[in-house]
Each structure stands twice: as structure tokens, then as C-alpha cells.
């Protein structure tokens, strides 16, 4: 007879009287379902026998106002069940959530333990199933229902049948979008027990990465090749989908292209938050840095952990303000002595 000490966390994000918690134990062999008599906070041992195929423990909470239930956590425990851990890493060191840009690589590490490699043992003892789910954020939202996504049809599925660390290196994200470069959403990697029925749909471990679009922009107010003879035009920067942690600059260069002398940064916009952002910024300081006639170039760039990227086509223009005298006519008659 085995007892299992089960710890569960109370719902702490909301007042205790807003939610009611239930812990349900589902025996996998006998299909008996038992609701553990537990207080709203605390811990209690599981008093039922641990069957061969194990028991599924589910922690649900129900909102008193909306009558909506949520699965907060679940654990599958059994004598034959393997263990799993999933870790996702990206180039972005942001600690609150693992995130990346759609065109940048990320790594998924899956560590499996407890597999038996015994043909006579149940299927769930010898292998686990890895599923990859792709979800897009709708509209301006930057969240999605992860539980629903994980229980939907996966984009990819594979079997893992050895107790080892499997390392998967993805060159880019495959979160779908009408414009692939503007994809935003999440990729979830979940390890499920390989058995059938409910056991086969029980997750052992999961990890995810948040995906943000490639930023783009426009320099409004001046055209490539434009000749400026008088005051410089007022400019406006249209910035789309700036990365959550980015520094965007409008830089003025002398000459054509960005390989000449960098004269000044005319405008900067820094972002440090949990989601991408689009915005419009006016620029009116062009004349302060232009003294001489000649060719100049404006470059709109953004700096992120991934490097510096050009947001729009560079704009090369010409300043032509000085008056040049080609000939001079002088009346000498007043200077002639009779």
C-alpha cells in the first residue's frame, strides 16, 4: 500500500472567497473517481491505493462569480510512469517569460527518465509522446489559453523512448500568420504519457516560448533623391511591431548610404515591456545638423538582443541651399573721368 503526499498551492492571485478548489483523483485501472476532502489551502496525503497504471491528480478551481472552472495543475503518478522535464531557451535573457523573435533560433531540451525499455510492460512505461503546438495571439492580445492549445491537434508529434536529454534546435518559429514575418504567439512543447485513453492525454511536462514579429518602419516626409533647397521638411517615423526590449533610432549620415560619416541620432525611442508595440513619432530637428550642401542619408534602425536591424529603406537626399554666382555685370560709367 502506498500513500502519496500531495502538495498543492492555493489560489493566491485572487481573494480566497472568489474561488473554490477541488482535488480529484482518478484511478487509472479501476476508473474510480474520488474527490479528496481537503481545505482550501494546505496539503493532504492521498489515501487511496496507488494502482499499477497509476492515478491522475487534478487541481481545479471554480470562480464563484462566473461559474467557470480552470484546471490549475495535474500530475500523473504511478509505478510505471516516467518523468519528464522541458526547458526552452532563446537569445533573449528576459527572465519573466521565455521569448524570441519569429526569425530567430531557440532551443528545446527534453529530459526523460524512468522509461523501462521492457516490451512486456505497459506502453506508457517504455515511451512518451512529444507534441509541438503553435498558437497565435488574436488582435491586440498578447495572451492565449495554453491549456486549450495543448489539448488541440498538434503541429508535430514524435516519440521519445530513451532515458536521455534530447536537444532540439529550431532555426525559427513556425507560429502561423498571414504575413509570416508578423507572426506573434506561442509555441508549446509538451510531453504526454504514451498510453491510451485519458492516460495518453496526460501531460508529464511542458514548456513554451513567446514569439514576437519582425519590426518594420517608415520615414515619412522626405523622398529618396529629394533636393532640399529651403527649410528641411518635418519628418515622421511610423514604427510597427517594435520588439518588447528595443532601442530604435533615426540616424543621419553624411554621404550616400550608412558607411559614411555618422553625423547624429535625430530621434530615439526605447521600449522595455512585455509585448511588442507600434507607434508614430514626429522628427523636426533635421536642420540643426545640416550646415553644408551635399548628400545625406537617413537610416531608421532598431537595436535588440539580436543585433541592429534596418526598419525601412534608407533615404538619401540632397541639400542645395547656397547661392552660386556664375557671372557678374558691373556699370563702369560712373568711374570714367571725362
Amino acid at each position: 500500500m502506498k500513500t502519496l503526499a500531495l502538495l498543492f498551492a492555493a489560489v493566491t492571485a485572487c481573494p480566497a472567497d472568489s474561488y473554490v478548489n477541488f482535488i480529484r483523483q482518478k484511478q487509472q485501472d479501476s476508473n474510480v473517481v474520488w474527490d479528496m476532502p481537503v481545505p482550501q489551502q494546505g496539503a493532504a496525503p492521498s489515501a487511496l491505493l496507488l494502482e499499477t497504471s497509476g492515478a491522475l491528480f487534478q487541481l481545479f478551481t471554480i470562480n464563484e462569480t462566473s461559474q467557470t472552472d480552470y484546471l490549475l495543475d495535474q500530475k500523473l503518478v504511478g509505478t510505471y510512469l516516467p518523468s519528464a522535464a522541458v526547458k526552452v531557451t532563446t537569445l533573449d535573457p528576459y527572465e519573466k517569460v521565455t521569448r524570441t523573435r519569429v526569425d530567430k533560433p531557440f532551443t528545446v531540451e527534453i529530459e526523460i527518465g524512468g522509461l523501462m525499455a521492457n516490451p512486456s510492460a505497459p506502453a506508457e512505461a517504455n515511451q512518451v509522446r512529444l507534441e509541438r503546438h503553435l498558437g497565435s495571439y488574436e488582435g491586440e492580445s498578447h495572451t492565449l489559453d495554453a491549456s486549450a492549445l495543448i489539448h488541440s491537434t498538434p503541429a508535430e508529434t514524435a516519440l521519445l523512448d530513451t532515458n536521455t536529454l534530447t536537444r532540439l534546435e529550431f532555426s525559427a518559429s513556425s507560429v502561423p500568420s498571414k504575413d509570416p514575418l508578423k507572426a506573434k504567439g506561442e509555441e508549446h512543447f509538451t510531453v504526454f504519457s504514451a498510453g491510451s485513453g485519458e492516460l495518453g492525454n496526460t501531460q508529464l511536462a511542458t514548456g513554451f516560448v513567446q514569439v514576437w514579429p519582425v519590426a518594420t518602419g517608415e520615414i515619412k516626409g522626405i523622398e529618396p533623391g529629394q533636393e532640399v533647397r529651403f527649410d528641411s521638411p518635418a519628418l515622421e517615423l511610423i514604427l510597427h511591431d517594435l520588439y518588447p526590449r528595443s532601442d530604435t533610432h533615426l540616424i543621419l549620415y553624411k554621404g550616400e548610404g550608412i558607411h559614411g560619416q555618422e553625423l547624429a541620432t535625430l530621434q530615439s525611442y526605447s521600449l522595455d515591456q512585455d509585448h511588442s508595440q507600434s507607434t508614430v513619432i514626429p522628427v523636426d530637428s533635421l536642420d540643426k545638423h545640416i550646415v553644408d550642401d551635399g548628400t545625406y542619408t537617413l537610416a531608421l534602425v532598431t537595436d535588440t538582443v539580436f543585433g541592429r536591424d534596418l526598419l525601412a529603406e534608407m533615404v538619401t537626399f540632397v541639400i542645395h541651399r547656397n547661392i552660386h554666382v556664375n557671372a557678374m555685370q558691373v556699370d563702369m560709367t560712373e568711374h570714367v573721368t571725362p
Binding site: 473554490v20 477541488f22 484511478q27 479501476s30 476508473n31 474510480v32 473517481v33 474520488w34 474527490d35 476532502p37 487511496l48 481545479f60 471554480i62 461559474q67 472552472d69 484546471l71 495535474q74 519569429v102 526569425d103 512529444l130 507534441e131 489559453d145 491549456s147 489539448h151 498538434p154 508535430e156 508529434t157 514524435a158 521519445l160 534530447t166 529550431f170 532555426s171 518559429s173 513556425s174 509570416p180 514575418l181 485519458e198 492525454n201 533610432h249 540616424i251 555618422e262 553625423l263 547624429a264 541620432t265 535625430l266 530615439s268 525611442y269 526605447s270 521600449l271 522595455d272 515591456q273 512585455d274 530637428s285 545638423h289 537610416a299 534602425v301 537595436d303 543585433g307 541592429r308 536591424d309
Partner: protein, 164 residues
Amino acid sequence: MKTLALAIAFCGCAHAQTAVSARVTADSLAALRAKSPMARLATAPAAPKAEAKPSIIRESVILHDGTNWTLVPESALLHVPANLKHRVNTRPVGKIMPWVDFLVSNRGWLTTENVSFDEAAGNTAIDTKRAETWQKSDRIIVATHLNGPISVRSKEVTPALASK
């Protein structure tokens, strides 16, 4: 979540030259996506039919007293008098209560019957005389084990179980 967008700042200083990356295109992104590292892993058989998101409300029997409600596992009801059927499995309305609190508040029409695990699992038949006694009760009887509601799959099918 707090936004830390900084105010627009004017900077008259020149930056040290920083290399600018080539802009990614839809075609180059498609090429990056084409080869998934999962392709080298063993192919999994057709996954079990994806179930709807787990819902304890959908997987339970609801009991309500007109003001409050609670839930117990399916097949946990051993007996439901005809005049109390309206308290079972209607749309949850009112305040959700933990099972224990709901039971204490409604002892006038709700009671429990302790069963062993083997009786719940159907490994052992429930005594017929005992089951007959339930039918005489004027209260709804919920099977419990160690003070928690439990589903019952008895080999001896009682009228309450048969009607479900």
C-alpha cells in the same frame, strides 16, 4: 503589466558604428522553418483523439439547493428520491461551495453512505439489503470514501445507478 516605454528623447551624439543585419525576408524565414529538428525523432502513432479541455463541471454531477451548489463525481449518487430530482444536474446557479460545506448546509435532504474502495471499484458487490435500505430514504444519498465523494461501479446495480 507595467509598460516601461521611455519618453521620446533627443540625442545629438553620434553612435559608434554598429553593423546592420540584412533584413529577413519571407522566403528566408520559410527556409529557416523548413527543417524541423523534430523530424529526426521517431514518428509517433496517431495521437489519442484530442479531448476537450478538462472540466470538472462537465465531468461531475451538480447538486444545488436553490442558492448554492456543489459537485460530486459521476456515479456517486446512490439514491435520488423522485421529489428531489430537481436538485440534481441542473445548470449551476448561485454560489459554488466545497462539498463538505454544502453537505452541512443541506443535511435535511442530503446524506452520505460510506463505501469501501472495492465496492466503489466494483470488485465487491454491495450488500443487497443495504442497497434496499437506501431506496427507502427520503434524502439524496452520495457515496463517500474517507469523507470524500466517490464514484461507484458496483456489480449490484441499484435503481438509482440503473437510472443514470
